[in-house]
């Protein structure tokens, strides 16, 4: 853009003398325009980062000028995102630098009606004092003769948007303090995934990566709004479409995903097991399963013991159900031929789970390592004819899931259902593969785990797992929610899916190992993983003589999930609470319950960007508005600590494909904003200083903890890379380890999370590698680092036949090279690299050596994909259609209405509605489902304060069909009040054809769509949809059912004040709701 010279700089002369006589181009260009330079080019530095919103993990370039971030845009080098960003990722600049962020600590004294400012140092000191005091007052040394070593007085929630390093310190410090109620968004989001995929395949995460979707011949998106919740990930579905793939979207509402699908199938919310079970039935009846794959790679041929009874025999129950405790004894589900171990230890694996009450979920400990099997060789029938073999059990179990039944139950017309079946079978087998993509539309149910299990069974039958373009894509939702499950900040897990010990059984380390480990596969090395973790936590204090400080771990006595914690708060036992980037007053089920719980606390610490609803409920929450609570009577002391953004700290996020991606600090946080790494580290330092010299035995775990991370700069920020190095693990010389196979059980290695071992291999931060996608193959193996061992498509051994040859050239991924005597291909083999396909394990082999050459599911006890899960899930070995907890319909398949093992907590604040044929269910006649819009993010903390996003979706609205609008007198853009037994909310009305009335069991049912992002705070305000939902949980993982509710609609705005409660009570009265309603088996 050269400047003109001399007289020609006078515009008119220049115009007439030069080539631009009409003066519309070069002559009209001003000097300013001629010297324009984009601010990215004049920035001081560009810092590599990762988007903090969803779990696609789009790479970002952060441009800094004069120590301020001036631009954030996509990094084209990423093999996952290719430089693109969705509207939220594009708004990251405004999120992190806009005026909505707070930078000052606020303090609310007990009974005060307003905030006061407080300096950070004083706040930290006060919080440390609160922790010490509450812990001392609520310490539990023993229960009977069993050690507990814990406090139930403190809980923590949050972590899915935090770095792995932050989650690691949260778990480490709080565990050493004896806190067991440590939870995060993963509980309420994808905990079902861990148990379902873990028990089916051996690892509880997405089986494939986003880029692999481009190779699918058919993609079924169900229980997911892929294009809206993961827009940049959706580009890979579009790639598949461009190559001719068929895309099918099954969902109660027609969303932006449906708009791009080839086929949209409307379905009644809560009936996906019937739908998928129908497809299973079709596949079996039409003999369209991939027989060679099923025989070689699944447990189809295994014979189950003679005492097993299926739901077909017991009208909806499996054998072994105890109606008193509402739990199953799974002994009758076991394989035939496995020895019963001696009675003393035989069923003891199950006892803690019985003692702890219904559904003390052990399923999540299969996040990396499937359930144990008793020793011995199971009986098998390779002809698949034995009536007690898994295959025949499966056939019989789904025999009534006919197309007619699917139409009855799901409201999906028979022809449309068969179209989906045909699409899947025509696109599976040797030459073609199909993929499933799902999200919380499947996980958030009282049968959430079983939903995903149904897809797992189907994909195993079709031979799609471990194949190019196949698999099951679990679309997780938060930037590092996979990490906050791996590390984890979850009550029942230690890093790497090691289970937290229970008071009853796990007395000593050897008891713990005996109860948990398996003989075959990599989980056999469990002791090495556990000892190395204990060395990472307690360093020099941990030795062979004291069981490596195994006793320092607090013990569980049941479920201590976030929902149990709320009841602990209500009952005054849990007195202190940390909220670390999570907003349960909007995001958890039964938000009223959450707020009433918090109102019983002694103290609450909220760390976030803005004053979210969970920080201000005491001042202006719905219960203040209704008069049920009065601010001056609420004793909860509240601290609000402003949090640093991802641009202001370094750390790693783990995305939905198990990939760890590092983001670097671009600028220092301003004011009193600090990272959660800083907060946890200094909180720990302060507490240790205050308790130094203590002789109390309970303080030893805290004082012996290794807590010496280097700190940098004027803010004394701990080094996230050092934390990563500890997570990775090191040997006795301090050398970073390269793989979990180097871990030892003799105390010579330390490792904070065995599945992450290798992320700091050779002292190089593998998660920070950013070799451009354009320089690698489509998997981009040198971009960042995935667990396990940088494999991108799991179980890829199954992409080759038992002899090691690809099933087809077209779909080859990994295969055996007989010349090089190793497995080769596009991906790192998910297998011992030099184990030949014909390897047979010698008698008595243990560990990895016990896995044979055709065992692709290397984390499973028998190396096979499990169609039938004999162990590890508490509500059945096979998925079964049950109606949601609250449903206008009776279960058409069985007498058993809902999941018999589901977890309920009836309480005056958590009343259930009558369902099905019970009188009163007609008071709540409409099916409601909650979902997301692309413009907002979860509970709104990161979008409702961001103007560029709030102007795109400014208000809470609900979507109804024109028929429903006519039926209830609703007007487009008018108001409607939505009522359940818990509460009532108001929303603007969006009348749209995209909501379809369905014909179910002889009558028409209307569905109501509820985007759930809103709360009363921020720039975009509205009622929270989760006010309506009850706490009704899946028993394996304690996840709430918010995807299928029953509601009533009334035109107009909702009443205010006491009148609101009266409205809710009146509906309850008409429906006959009591504390006993809905709690029957």
């Amino acid at each position: 853009m050269a400047r003109r010279a001399g007289a020609a700089r006078w515009p008119l002369l220049g115009q007439l003398a030069g080539p631009d006589r009409l003066g519309r181009g070069a002559a009209a260009r001003s000097p300013v325009s001629a010297s324009l330079r984009p601010r990215v080019a004049s920035a001081d530095r560009v810092v590599k980062s990762i988007c903090p919103y969803c779990a696609v993990g789009c790479a970002q370039n952060v441009y800094v000028k004069d120590e301020r971030v001036v631009q954030i845009e996509g990094d084209p080098d990423s093999p996952v995102s290719r430089g693109r960003l969705c509207p939220k990722g594009s708004a990251t600049l405004q999120l992190t630098t806009g005026p909505s962020r707070r930078h000052q600590v606020l303090h609310r004294r007990p009974f005060s009606d307003d905030w006061e400012t407080l300096d950070l140092e004083t706040a930290m000191d006060m919080i440390a004092e609160r922790v010490i005091q509450t812990r001392a007052e609520t310490w539990e040394e023993r229960l009977g003769d069993k050690k507990l070593n814990r406090t139930m007085g403190i809980a923590s929630l949050g972590g899915a948007t935090l770095d792995n390093e932050e989650n690691y310190l949260i778990k480490k410090l709080l565990t050493a303090l004896g806190v067991v109620q440590i939870e995060n968004q993963a509980r309420v989001c994808h905990s079902s995934t861990v148990a379902a995929l873990g028990t089916s395949f051996g690892r509880g995460g997405s089986t494939t990566c986003l880029q692999d979707l481009q190779h699918a011949d058919c993609i079924v998106i169900e229980g997911s709004n892929f294009a809206e919740a993961h827009p940049v990930g959706f580009q890979w579905v579009m790639e598949a479409k461009a190559r001719g793939a068929r895309v099918i979207h099954v969902d109660p509402h027609f969303s932006r995903t449906s708009a791009l699908a080839d086929t949209y199938v409307p379905i009644r919310a809560g009936t996906d097991i019937a739908f998928l079970g129908g497809i299973i039935n079709y596949v079996l009846a039409e003999e369209r399963y991939f027989r060679d794959y099923v025989l070689a790679y699944t447990n189809a041929a295994v014979v189950v013991g003679p005492d097993f009874r299926d739901t077909e025999d017991l009208d909806g129950l499996f054998s072994g159900f105890d109606p008193e405790s509402r739990q199953y004894d799974s002994s009758s589900w076991q394989y035939e031929g496995l020895e019963l171990t001696n009675p003393a230890s035989g069923n003891e694996e199950l006892t803690p789970y019985r003692e702890g009450g219904a559904g003390t979920g052990h399923g999540e400990s299969h996040g990396s390592g499937g359930p144990a099997l008793k020793s011995g060789v199971p009986e098998r029938d390779p002809s698949l004819q034995n009536p007690r073999c898994v295959f025949q059990i499966l056939r019989r179990h789904y025999s009534r899931y006919t197309p007619e039944m699917v139409e009855e139950v799901c409201g999906v017309p028979r022809d449309q259902f068969l179209e989906v079946c045909r699409a899947l079978v025509e696109n599976s087998g040797r030459e073609r593969t199909s993929a499933f993509a799902y999200a919380v539309g499947w996980t958030q149910h009282t049968v959430g785990v079983q939903y995903i299990r149904t897809a797992s069974v189907l994909q195993l039958l079709l031979g799609n797992i471990g194949r190019r373009g196949g698999g099951i894509m679990a679309l997780r939702g938060h930037a590092s929610i996979q990490g906050s499950s791996d590390i984890p900040t979850l009550f029942n897990l230690l890093p790497g899916y090691l289970p937290m010990p229970y008071a009853h059984t796990h007395e000593r380390l050897r008891d713990y190992i005996a109860a948990e480990r398996v003989d075959k596969g990599f989980w056999a090395e469990m002791r090495s993983y556990m000892v190395s973790l204990l060395k990472a936590y307690w360093g020099a204090a941990a030795g062979e003589d004291n069981d490596y400080c195994f006793d320092y771990l607090p013990r569980l006595t049941g479920s201590h999930s976030t929902y149990e914690t709320v009841f602990e708060q209500l009952e005054g036992r849990c007195r202190g609470y940390f909220l670390l980037g999570e907003n349960p007053a909007v995001g958890s089920a039964n938000t009223r319950l959450q707020r009433f719980g918090m109102a019983q606390l002694d103290w609450l610490v909220v760390r976030d960007f803005s004053l979210i609803e969970s920080a201000t409920w005491w001042q202006d929450g719905p219960e203040i508005a209704s008069g049920e609570m009065r601010t001056r009577e609420i004793k909860t002391e509240v601290f609000f600590l402003p949090a640093a953004a991802h641009t202001e700290k370094s750390g790693s996020f783990t995305n939905t494909n198990r990939m760890l991606q590092w983001h670097h600090t671009a600028v220092e946080p301003q004011g009193d904003a600090r990272s959660d790494l800083w907060f946890m580290y200094h909180l720990g330092r302060l507490i240790r200083e205050k308790l130094a010299g203590s002789t109390e035995p309970r303080d030893r775990p805290l004082l012996d903890l290794t807590w010496d991370y280097p700190v940098e700069g004027p803010l004394r920020e701990p080094s996230a890379e050092a934390v990563l190095a500890e997570i990775n693990g090191f040997d006795a010389e301090g050398r970073p380890l390269g793989s979990y196979t180097e871990l030892r059980d003799d105390g010579s290695t330390a490792c904070g999370c065995w599945i992450y071992c290798g992320v700091y291999k050779d002292g190089v931060n593998q998660a920070a590698r950013r070799r451009p996608a354009q320089e690698q193959n489509w998997l981009g193996p040198e971009w960042c680092w995935s667990w396990p061992a940088n494999r991108r498509v799991l179980y890829n051994r199954a992409s080759a036949d038992p002899q090691g040859r690809p099933w087809s050239e077209r779909k080859r991924l990994v295969w055996w090279d007989p010349e090089r005597l190793s497995w080769v291909g596009d991906d790192v083999p998910d297998f011992v690299a030099d184990k030949p396909p014909d390897y047979r394990a010698p008698e008595g082999a243990r560990g990895a050596a016990a896995l044979e050459g055709d065992d692709p599911f290397i984390m499973q006890a028998d190396g096979k994909g499990w169609l039938f899960v004999p162990n590890g899930l508490v509500d059945g070995p096979l998925p079964t259609h049950y109606e949601p907890q609250e449903s206008p319909f009776q279960n058409a398949l069985y007498r058993q209405q809902s999941n018999p093992a589901r977890q309920l907590r009836p309480h005056p604040l958590n009343l259930y509605q009558p369902s099905g044929e019970l009188p009163g269910s007609e008071v709540y006649p409409f099916v409601a489902t909650s979902y997301r819009l692309t413009e907002h993010f979860t509970a709104g903390g990161m979008t409702r304060w961001t103007p560029y996003l709030t102007e795109l979706q400014p208000e809470f609205f609900c979507e109804v069909s024109p028929e429903l609008a006519r039926e209830r007198g609703l007007e487009h853009m008018g108001w409607v009040t939505i009522i359940s037994a818990r509460s009532a909310v108001e929303a603007r009305v969006m009348v749209t054809e995209r909501m379809t009335p369905l014909r179910v069991q002889g009558r028409t049912v209307q569905q109501v769509g509820l985007p759930y992002h809103w709360g009363p705070n921020g720039l975009s305000r509205g009622d929270s949809a989760n006010e309506l939902a009850p706490v009704a949980l899946d028993p394996n993982v304690h996840i709430q059912e918010v995807k299928a509710l029953a509601v009533d609609l009334i035109p107009g705005r909702r009443p205010r004040g006491e009148a609101l409660r009266q409205l809710v009570r009146e509906h309850r009265r008409r429906a006959g709701v009591t504390e006993a309603t809905g709690t029957r088996l």
């Binding site: 080539p19 009409l22 519309r24 325009s33 324009l36 990722g89 594009s90 959706f234 819009l933 995209r994």
Partner: protein, 317 residues
């Protein structure tokens, strides 16, 4: 080419060398947008990325009821606008209107009727058709013959070396002549400012070889940035592909150099008629008629003179 023809070419019809005609020596190839709306997922990343890059203020926060479109239209504070049309197709025609109570809107809000499984021919048992949700990201067209540019009295609007049309904020005096001139209703004045603002095709980014913010962000590559000639070829191939798949209503919009504005620097692939998307079916640059207007003025002037002359002659008797 005669002077008259040359002048004509500068005002309407095909103009292959737009940048050279605007006085640039050895200009780079003409750059532009091809927006393939068949790939749009309606996410509005384009709207946000544009606002972030150009520091555009928020444009009002109101729920419009126009499906998921709360941005309503292009304007001074919305330079990328995603339209949403819910419709039911049957044999390529719009289905019956549904009596909604709409918010005031310049666009036809699409109707639709119940979804049911059809017999494969798109027609449902009750005569209805499959539901369709059209989504499209609209933008300034950077016309070959840009009316806004032609009528601008101050030279604030100018043609860049890339063939794009840009408003220079340091020149614009807020007279507003360009606002009614634009056949698409794109350019508009900012309320508390007075000057006009519109898409610049990220002129500053082009200057260092970077693509516009919206094109970079677009998750599905609905917005494609590149050399206009290459984009036109790509669009032709894409259209043929879609029509081959049975999407007979798919069409290109604004791609033809002989249309009323000489073809657009930002053109589109639509899945229905332009009016469905709120786009004018036959936009014409104001100055197309300029030569004819001046000829008529000239003829009128001569007629007037002749009349005066005749009256004068007549009055002299």
């Amino acid at each position: 080419m005669s002077l008259a023809e040359r002048l004509g070419e500068l005002l309407s019809g095909p103009e292959p060398a737009v940048a050279a005609d605007a006085g640039y020596q050895d200009p780079p190839p003409r750059m532009g947008f091809f927006t393939d709306t068949s790939l749009c997922i309606g996410c509005k990343a384009c709207e946000v990325a544009c606002k972030e890059w150009n520091a555009i203020p928020q444009d009002g926060q109101r729920l419009t009821g126009m499906s998921y479109d709360n941005s309503e239209a292009l304007g001074a504070d919305t330079w990328r606008h995603v339209a949403f049309i819910e419709q039911r197709r049957r044999d390529g025609r719009l289905g019956p209107e549904l009596a909604l109570t709409p918010a005031p809107s310049p666009f036809p809000v699409g109707p639709g009727v119940r979804i049911r499984a059809d017999g494969g021919d798109g027609v449902l048992p009750d005569g209805g058709g499959e539901l369709r949700w059209l989504m499209a990201s609209d933008v300034c067209k950077h016309c070959t013959h840009a009316a806004c540019l032609d009528v601008c009295p101050t030279g604030a609007l100018f043609r860049t070396e890339f063939g794009t049309v840009v408003v220079q904020e340091d020149i614009c005096n807020g007279c507003g002549y360009c606002v009614p001139a634009c056949p698409y209703g794109v350019i508009d004045q900012r309320h508390d400012d007075g000057r006009v603002f519109k898409c610049t095709l990220c002129y500053d980014r082009l200057g260092v070889g970077m693509e516009p913010a919206c094109a970079k962000a677009c998750p599905t590559d609905s917005i494609q940035f590149g050399e206009l000639d290459q984009l036109r070829q790509r669009a032709d191939r894409r259209l043929a592909q879609l029509q081959g798949q049975g999407l007979s209503e798919a069409r290109l919009y604004g791609h033809r150099p002989d249309d009323g504005v000489g073809g657009d620097g930002a053109f589109f692939l639509l899945l229905d008629e332009p009016q469905v998307y709120g786009l004018p079916p036959d936009p014409v640059v104001t100055t197309r008629d300029l030569p004819s207007m001046w000829r008529h003025v000239g003829a009128a002037a001569l007629t007037l003179l002749a009349g005066i002359g005749a009256a004068h002659l007549g009055s002299r008797r």
